[in-house]
Amino acid sequence: MKHLREFTFALAASTLIAGAATAEDAELSAIGLSFSDGALVSLLSDAAANVDGVSVETELLPFGQLFSAIEVRLQARNENPDLYYVDGPLTASYTARGHLAPLDDILPNASEIYTSAALQQGTVDGKLMSVPLESSTVVMLVNNALFEQAGIDAPSNNPEERWTWEQVADAGKKISALGEDTWGFNFHFGDSPYMALIMPQSKGATLIGEDGVTASGYVNSPEFIEAINVYSALYSDGIAPAGMYDYSLALELFLTGKVGMFAGVVSDAVTAGKRDGLDLTVAPLPYFAGGTPVTPTGSWHIGVNPRSKNPEKAAQLVQALAQPDFVSAYFGARANPPVLKSAWESLGDQLDGELWTLARYEINNTAVARPSIGGWLEYDSILRSALREIQGGADVTERLNAAAAEMDRELLKYKK
């Protein structure tokens, strides 16, 4: 074995271009999401510049492989990386598997500075496990031209005049009737529980049992089924295009003017606003008459590896990431709702206008985070498959019963 190692080293040395770090100061390693052409690298470096003796080396991963690549690193259970990106609802999963260090002592005032929707996702069993960087909310983008063509009044920006799903279905049918390639409504992430769950939630359904591992009786509860039947009808009535699982294409379909109402994240509204010839209204998401208005929210967080060799330095960096300066710089690179309460004031002039006023209203009043359960990844994936089958015409009750049974089985490992 020794020879083999030597041999490997010799080969390695011959092709190696070493990138050894200087050891004077602590160099933290971070894994983040690739966006805006690598903007995160300089954002984190700038934040680290405010902390003495800390620099940060950031690796960027494309979204499609973010979770699997992080999973390999974490499963190795070593000191790398010091910090990593955490999709809000996965906080509980990483916590249950011992991949996150608690951050309460680092940010004792978290509950005062962060918006509650964002903070909620970073908190597991009352402990702060990951720190939010950016939030999200969903609005309904309305293509005014199609409404005009169909001769219907478009929904307004006012949350007080929020449409019901019944109104969406009525108007949607008329817009779909305009042409073979015109659609009344579409979700940006049509098969994603992030978006679809607002329907059962608006009906008052509970998504999972108190224990966080029981799905039967919740995912197939009467309210849940009733709501998903309405979801199913959107596709079977030809209001929404089924099978748009490529999210980029789903957005493109709206941007090319073929969709009347589009449930999209805030950045979609920004993108759509830049398209020529697209006359938009930013309306609130629909709800069920008699139910409560619910909007999805989710946030990207950053967490600290409990095996980090530099826990103090990592903690200091996390503190720097909670500063208003960082949050506004972040907003500059990626226009998603900020997570600091103060940023809504300090970014004031950038957050004016109907889009941000509505986004702010939704985050403060209707946003509901996804359940904080260890098995969220499993829940999400199983429900996603069920939603796809339902878009394709599968029987709702039957499919949700099957999904609930599968969830029960997969979530069992998180039972305390």
């Binding site: 020879h3 083999l4 190692r5 041999f7 490997t8 080969l11 499609g64 979770f67 699997s68 999973e71 499963q75 259970r77 999963s93 249950a96 598997r97 011992g98 390639d181 295009p241 089924a242 099978g243 748009m244 699982y245 490529d246 294409l249 493109e252 379909l253 090319t256 073929k258 260890g374 990844l377 499993e378 994936s381 996603r384 498959s385 796809r388 089958e389 394709g392 599968a394 997969e410 490992k413 998180y414």
Partner: protein
């Protein structure tokens, strides 16, 4: 004259003299010589492949707690799999996919190789055209065909909409999804296997054809009696490599269908990937991988028996 034929005629002249000697003196080199040839590759394979494989096989007999403690689980992971209906569906999907795609892909590749083998004009253009799809990674091939086949914005469907066929579901249609997977995989892979078959064709001695030509053999007879038998070794490689790739097929499934619609593209490898990265159940993922490994080895062994070169080939 090419090197090959020059060398083979040279070989023939010495063959007579040394034939007896060669039979008596099997090619047994000294240990030092043997190591010199084998050690670099074997040691690299042991360190970077066999050791991790051994660990993974071991892992398939253990279960991991949420916090990473591993305990011996015996055949537990396998038992759970065998009682899972979804697993058997994946076995069916994987086998169906392979029974169709392997012969199809290699047949197309062989046709391509024959077409661009014989001298002619513009061969560079055709060879490169056939090969070009291979230069895209499987993931990007999946992304591209997903765009082309999209029900609403896809180019293929916008053309089909003009024909009596109308728009097709492709990946979204339970009956077409696996077929669409076979199509994109063949689109990418055929040109790749063409290059090995092409190299194999070059190896066949021209004299064999000349002799056959003199005997008045038809092109079909030449193909059956000379080309195919002479290509056995090449075909073995191509079949083993292609079957392995296709038994482990999953990237387009992950990117496009996630096993759907209704389990119609839920290959074993996708199930293994999902088990490790979505269900974070490494014990199950590794036992699935080991089953796949066993399947690949068995199929490869069967292919080796089938393509065993006869005497004198």
């Amino acid at each position: 004259m090419t090197d090959t034929s020059a060398a083979s005629s040279a070989a023939k002249s010495v063959a007579k003299a040394s034939k007896k000697r060669a039979m008596l003196d099997p090619q047994r080199p000294s240990w030092a010589t043997l190591l010199m040839f084998l050690l670099p590759a074997i040691s690299l394979l042991i360190v970077f492949r066999l050791a991790p494989i051994a660990i993974s096989i071991g892992g398939s007999f253990s279960s991991q707690s949420l916090l990473g403690e591993t305990t011996f689980h015996g055949l537990g992971n396998y038992n759970t799999l065998f009682t899972d209906e979804g697993f058997w569906n994946s076995v069916r999907v994987t086998l169906l996919f392979n029974i169709i795609i392997n012969p199809l892909q290699i047949f197309v590749a062989f046709i391509m190789a024959l077409l661009v083998f014989a001298p002619g004009r513009f061969l560079t253009f055709f060879r490169v055209s056939f090969f070009l799809p291979m230069t895209m990674s499987t993931a990007l091939v999946a992304v591209m065909w997903n765009l082309l086949f999209d029900p609403n914005l896809g180019l293929v469907n916008s053309i089909l909409a003009q024909t009596p066929l109308g728009r097709q579901g492709f990946f979204f249609d339970e009956d077409q999804a696996l077929g669409a997977m076979i199509w994109i995989s063949t689109w990418k892979g055929a040109g790749y296997y063409m290059i090995f078959l092409l190299a194999g064709l070059f190896r066949i001695s021209e004299e064999l054809y000349e002799a056959a030509h003199v005997d008045g053999a038809s092109p079909w007879q030449q193909l059956r009696l000379i080309t195919l038998p002479q290509m056995k070794r090449t075909f073995l490689f191509v079949f083993v490599a292609d079957t392995t790739v296709n038994l482990l097929f999953f990237a387009p499934v992950y990117i496009i269908t996630r096993g759907g619609p209704n389990g119609s593209t839920d290959t074993l490898m996708y199930r293994a990937y999902e088990s490790s990265f979505t269900f974070v159940d490494w014990g199950r993922a590794l036992s699935l991988s080991c089953i796949l490994l066993a399947l690949v080895v068995i199929v490869a062994a069967a292919q080796m028996l089938f393509f065993k070169p006869g005497e004198g080939e």
